[in-house]
């Protein structure tokens, strides 16, 4: 879907991205993470040609983007930024309709799409479509920002630290919504963050960058259990490593089928971290597990939860 081949970008004497090769497969939720100055935002902004590379080739859906008109390329991609950047003089509806309007969609189709997106992002369409951005809270504004980016049904969504400025509760809610949107639409998402918990929660694959170079790519579990070096170990944390480890696996993977146990059942899709919290809260070492329809699936034992959870 997106492929970097030997891409370098310098700003004066500073090399922001250094001979980077990276590929993002269709349908991935790819998180780029790294410390400040690691080049993660530069990498993202090269994907929609807001920044031009000094060397190397970037392909999107097989096409060398240097040959495309920047506007054409960008209208095919959603773009969400930390500072949101809603147009203050336009209503929510017109903000969301921005790209469809540029593409010349018929009015009725735009209107339906706005309703659909507001509903998808848990905003009451009739209440908010006519509101101006200054009338919304920060979390609502960024919901509109995400809706605007998704409006023209892009194959790729680029997100640059979209939730970093929000309070923890709003951030958590928006993360859950992004996970649901990714699952429902299959849109390829490239998401930049400096927050490892956010990366582990959302990513299907993580790419860790440092000083413009790729340090490691892998699934959240790979990154936790097989960190490439000390920089990665620092990023994933040393104190609460164990809890992060539990957070990336689901209850279903450790459930013993056929058994029964008393207590409120855990959801099969819950993380092991949530399961541990439930066990501590109930003072028990085993809890029943139920599937999405509430049917019993078996039992999760504390011993199984701990198995294989040590550092490799």
């Amino acid at each position: 879907m997106i492929a970097f081949e030997g891409v370098t970008k310098r700003f004066g004497a500073w090399t922001a991205v250094d001979d980077l090769s990276l590929s993002v497969a269709a349908g991935e939720f790819r998180v780029l993470i790294g410390p400040s100055g690691s080049g993660k935002s530069t990498v993202l902004r090269m994907m929609n040609r807001l920044i031009a590379p000094d060397a190397g080739t970037i392909r999107v859906e097989g096409e060398d983007i240097a040959r495309l008109k920047p506007e054409t390329l960008r209208r095919r991609m959603g773009y969400v930024i930390q500072s949101i950047g809603l147009f203050p003089h336009w209503t929510v509806e017109r903000n969301i309709a921005a790209v469809p309007d540029l593409l010349g969609w018929p009015r009725a189709r735009v209107r339906d799409r706005v309703t659909e997106l507001l509903t998808l992002l848990n905003l009451d369409a009739e209440r908010y479509r006519g509101a101006f951005p200054h009338e919304l809270s920060g979390g609502q504004q960024q919901r509109v920002g995400v809706a605007r980016a998704l409006a023209a049904e892009p194959h790729i969504l680029l997100m640059d630290e979209p939730f970093s400025a929000l309070d923890p509760i709003t951030r958590g809610a928006l993360q859950a919504e992004m996970a649901a949107i990714h699952k429902a639409t299959g849109t390829t998402i490239v998401f930049v963050t400096h927050d490892m918990d956010e990366a582990l929660t959302l990513a299907s694959r993580i790419a860790i960058l440092d000083r413009g170079r790729l340090v490691q790519t892998g699934t959240p579990l790979d990154i936790l259990t097989r960190p490439a070096d000390d920089r990665v170990r620092d990023l994933v944390g040393r104190e609460d490593w164990g809890l992060k480890r539990l957070a990336v696996e689901t209850v279903a993977e450790r459930t013993r089928p056929g058994e029964t146990a008393p207590g409120d059942p855990l959801a099969a899709g819950a993380s092991l971290r949530q399961a541990l919290a439930a066990m501590v809260a109930c003072g028990t070492d085993r809890l029943p597990v139920a599937d999405g329809q509430g049917r019993p699936m078996g039992v999760l034992h504390l011993a199984d939860l701990l198995r294989g959870a040590d550092r490799a």
């Binding site: 929609n48 807001l50 920047p70 506007e71 054409t72 390329l73 960008r74 209208r75 773009y79 930024i81 500072s83 949101i84 950047g85 809603l86 147009f87 203050p88 003089h89 336009w90 921005a98 790209v99 540029l102 101006f132 200054h134 920002g145 605007r148 980016a149 680029l158």
Partner: protein, 251 residues
Amino acid sequence: MRGALTVLLTDRLILGLLVLAALVLGMPALKPLFAATFPALDRPMYEADGFLALTLDHLALAGGASLIAALLGGAAGIAVTRPFGREFRGVLDAVAAMGQTFPPVAVLAVSVPVLGFGPPPALIALTLYGLLPIVENTVAGLESVPEPVREAARGMGMGPGAMLWRVELPLAAPVILAGVRTAAVVNLGTAAIASTVGAKTLGLPIIVGLNGSNPAYVIQGAVIVAALAVVLDAGFDRLAARLTRWRPGAA
């Protein structure tokens, strides 16, 4: 009906227009009043030109100069904030500042030997005079567009034209309008002085009155200019409110 009347009488713009129309059209009817106030005067009413014609000429001069200044100043302000025009920013600032340094009377005086008497030197002087506030405010307005808004616009695929018309100009409009307002207000007053170089405006009765020690003429010209200023001010208020409906606190 009562509601409509209340609105009519409390609306500054409508009220101003009514007073203006009454003064312009009804001035000759006030002749007895001026005769009674200034019994020493042989001719208490300016009758060499109609007040309607003077008002229209006055408006044409001040409005024309403001419009030309808005078009030129706006275009120049847009040009120097584009990538191709950035290097002319300093030159433009200098030229516009110079236009403002000369008192309008001086520009009038200097342009007469070149262009002769009549409306052309007046139009040029007023246009030059209106340029600075419009250029300055156009640049300031365009530069006040928040960077995240620009980045979002670029990132979603707006080209430079769409960005200017859909985002930058609407967001800068209130500030640009304030510049046009300053220019228009100054021009409305200065147009009166333009009568000294032979442009027929509402300044004519004022100047004739001053020369001939006829205070009635001065008052007749001055009250209409004052009414025009009130209408202009109320009109710009109305326009500014329309352009800022999206702002916090707007109704």
